[in-house]
Amino acid sequence: MGETANIRRIRYLLIALVALYLIGPTLVVIWLSFSTDEVLRFPPHLFSWRWYEVFLFDERWNEAVRRSLLVGSLATFLATIIGSVAAFGTARTRLPGKQIVEIFAIAPLVVPPIILATGGYSLFAKLDMIGSNIGLAIMHTVLGVPYVYLIVSSALARTDPSIELAALSLGANRWRTIRDVSIPANLPAIITGALFAFLISFDEVVVTVFLSGSLAPTLPVRVFSSLSLAVSPVVAAVSTVQIIIAIVLMCLVGFLQRWQRRWAEAVAH
């Protein structure tokens, strides 16, 4: 046993500890979701699917899922368009005011959510849109735009800016160039941005609480409010489902990024 072997063992131990620290809480949640108990307690009695059944068949949870999906899709759609257009505008044109667009596109990432929430609340209260899906989707769009913007921008920085000029020289008008070249050549990044925008909306609590009004809450808000009322293990089951969705989407993101990077190799030699 040399010293290096000991060092290696210590290093593995440290990595394991950090990993446990990072995913420990998640593992506890998954564990709790298979509880047979009526209330959340630790450690739980195992093993049952009953809380997953509650989640699947309880109308109030279903409604929360539907609302999350509806708001999430709308916000994803809008954020993807706005974020991508802003990214193209700043990366590929020489229009004045690029810096300002950039600042606006990234701002929601650095402004504390509670400030966005109060701002959104006063705005939509005036418009009488508290509790409307549209109002909520608009606020979620604002939160999603920075992710789309940053992801698409970084892809554009790596793809050849001449490909659009090439399309124009070959006879494509501006619209065909966007349709045939700009969008498909950056599609993996655009989809990645869309997935992030969806996840952001699907996870958002603070702004949503402010804007939900009397309407049925979205999934994470429902989780949040049921935690503060009766603490039922169904919350753990719901969270586990959310975790799985997040993991699946992140795997997809990894795949998409490899795809986009391969395309970027068409430029470099």
Partner: protein, 364 residues
């Protein structure tokens, strides 16, 4: 490619007083150039001299600040790039990364609403012509090709719709030397067959001299001289052009009579009759290294001491310190003749038909 692209004939291209300003920067400054149909012309110049900007205006990617562009009979100054009927090859090749080789090449034909059958026939034939057999390459993505193969795809894609003018911006920049030589020859034979008008941007003088019918040497956004390669090399009109193309020994001279100029050591050279001389201007005598001959001291016009030698394979480059300055000479070494440092050698050069260039006024 001749079978299908045979009907291409180049158009005339005319630039008139073309200027492009970026804020206070004049990237292109009052450039006028007439390019004949079927001519291969190079825009040659150092980095930042405005070559790319001029090409971008020809392609329609940059608006002109002032001046006009004609392609054929048409004034295209305000015509968008996709309606100019040009082909363009970019330094990065600009292949569409999400499309196969086949889709890249067929894209311009699809835009022209050609039938699938005709597209297929044309693309396959064109691929064969540039040695990219379709059954091997059609389905590959650009990133699965070598640099030279990408270059060929970019070239075919720009030619397959039979444009009247082909614009190329440093198309060989990213290739290694051997491949470059090969592609240059291919490009030459292609141009000979198709009689395309080609505008070729490069900062490589060798490339420009080898490929072009004429080259325009650019400097600070202006055209310094337009001429065929030999005239540019043999009869440069400015000190800048003399220095930019190949190596130049420039010796200060004093005008002594209408066509006679005195070297610093008192010897006299006669200028060729077609050079007009302004008496208020100082001149430099241009001696290309291969125009100076190393000879026996008895026959020499000049004697000098060898400062340094560089072995170049078939020839040797020698710097000789002489009474008229340090001269660079390219000589052929052989068994009986060797050159070493500090050796005294005799030099001579023709004194009639001397090429003189105006000495540039330098700031400070």
């Amino acid at each position: 490619m001749s079978a299908h692209l045979g009907s291409i004939t180049g158009s005339r291209v005319q630039m008139r007083n073309l200027t492009k300003e970026y804020g206070i920067v004049r990237a292109v400054d009052n450039v006028s150039l007439d390019i004949e149909p079927g001519e291969f012309i190079s825009l040659l110049g150092p980095s930042g001299s405005g070559k790319t900007t001029a090409l971008m205006m020809l392609a329609g990617f940059e608006r002109t600040t002032s001046g006009t562009i004609h392609i054929g009979e048409q004034d295209v100054t305000l015509v968008p790039p996709f309606a100019r009927g040009i082909g363009m090859v970019f330094q990065s090749y600009a292949l569409f990364p999400h499309m196969s080789v086949y889709d890249n090449i067929s894209y311009p034909l699809k835009l022209r609403r050609m039938s699938k059958l005709e597209i297929d026939e044309r693309v396959r034939r064109a691929m064969d012509m540039v040695k990219l057999p379709p059954d091997k390459f059609a389905n590959r993505l650009p990133q699965q090709l070598s640099g030279g193969q990408r270059q060929r795809v970019a070239l075919v894609r720009a030619l397959i719709y039979e444009p009247h003018v082909l614009l190329m911006d440093e198309p060989m920049g990213a290739l290694d030397k051997n491949l470059r030589e090969e592609l240059k020859l291919e490009l030459l034979s292609l141009q000979e067959r198709l009689r395309l008008t080609i505008v070729y941007v490069t900062h490589d003088q060798g490339e420009a001299l080898m490929l072009s019918n004429r080259a325009a040497v650019m400097r600070d956004g202006r055209i310094e001289q337009v001429a065929n390669p030999e005239a540019l090399y043999r009869r440069p009109q400015t000190e800048f052009v003399a220095n930019f193309l190949g190596e130049a020994n420039l010796v200060p001279v004093e005008q002594s009579s209408e066509r006679e100029f005195t070297l610093p050591d008192g010897q006299v050279v006669r200028s060729s009759p077609d050079i007009s001389v302004d008496p208020s201007q100082s001149y430099l005598l241009l001696l290309r290294p291969e125009e100076i001959e190393v000879c026996a001291e008895a026959e020499a016009m000049l004697r000098g001491r060898i400062q340094s030698t560089v072995y170049l394979g078939s020839s040797i480059r020698i710097d000789v310190d002489t009474p008229i300055g340090v001269l660079t000479v390219v000589a052929k070494p052989n068994q009986s003749r060797r050159f070493e440092r500090n050796q005294i050698v005799g030099l001579r050069f023709a004194t009639g038909d001397a090429v003189l260039v105006p000495k540039e006024a330098r700031a400070g």
